[in-house]
Symmetry: C2
Subunit: 187 residues, 2 copies
Amino acid sequence: MQQVQKDPVQAIAMRVKIEREARGWSLAELAERSGVSKAMISKIERCEASPTATVLGRLSGAFGLPLSVLLALAERVQERIAPHAEQPVWTDPETGYTRRAISPPNSMLELIDVSLPPGVRVPYPAAAFAFQHQQIWVLSGRLDFQEGAALHHLSEGDCLLLGPPVDCVFFNPGKIPTRYVVALTRR
Amino acid sequence: MQQVQKDPVQAIAMRVKIEREARGWSLAELAERSGVSKAMISKIERCEASPTATVLGRLSGAFGLPLSVLLALAERVQERIAPHAEQPVWTDPETGYTRRAISPPNSMLELIDVSLPPGVRVPYPAAAFAFQHQQIWVLSGRLDFQEGAALHHLSEGDCLLLGPPVDCVFFNPGKIPTRYVVALTRR
DNA sequence: GTCAATCGTCTTTTATAGTGGACGCCAAAA
DNA sequence: TTTTGGCGTCCACTATAAAAGACGATTGAC
């Protein structure tokens, strides 16, 4: 699904908005970080302007991405299938904690497949979720989930709806790896 | 050497010019193919304008490249070391003819390392070089080089300076692979 | 309820991206 | 030599990208 000649304005619009909202930034905040006026960012996100290379460079700089990567992400905007082989996976070399992004890029609803080795503890700071709605579903093994002051003991098949943002900790109290899904929707 | 926030105008300028000249296109020809005025293309190549996303989309379309790829190439513009592992290599599955681009992208002077299996014949049409200056240096083995009507027999260490563009043929008359270098400068 | 703060959009003005055409500059040919 | 044609740049004009600030809507605090 390579796009070789369509006007990139719409794809860029969606991608910029996604990157901004994923960071929980308002137009004003992105404007300050990038040096691009918020009026212009607003227009870009609504496809009412075709940003210049200079402006795109400032925006990608604010996101900490090379411009070509921002554009590559933009071109993937309308993909609907995320083949297993192409899903980004990250493994913590120290603990063996593995995290796989299941959903196609850009989805409103994001699914993450996590594998937590026995005895491993993963903190999850409150600041990391500017999300509106988040659930945790245990596929196999056991999970102790600390949500602020509360501690939840989850077993295979359990599903937990998260409350307002607080510091959390994932912990696997069992002898086998725990596999669970994090499902979240943005704003 | 990822570029995360510099203004991309200069890198784009160089890359557009390279892509255009590599295809032997004049400003007018690229203008017609892309729908961008040649005055604008001229400005872009001389860093006197920051092209909009729409214009970049049209240009990359004319080149047959996804926009993100054009930008990725642009970001590599000032690389000065081309590590062996990153040099693009192409092998003809039928003949075993192998061609490796030695020089960093974008150089004025380009070096190509070619390996030609015994008995293999590779034609090289005149249209393929809009280059001003081109030399062939045999590293090992023997090479029969037909340049238009003339036939040159080259042995290890020989270096041939090419004349004006004509149809050429590379041929390995020996029993072992021939390895030679093509060195060329544009314009 | 009021007030204040913040958000995204809209308005006005300026800077500049983009176009079409004229121009000067080599080449190669007559 | 002059001519011719193709090339890239420059010029004048138009379209629009970009900035700065005003505006209405929403939200939370009191």
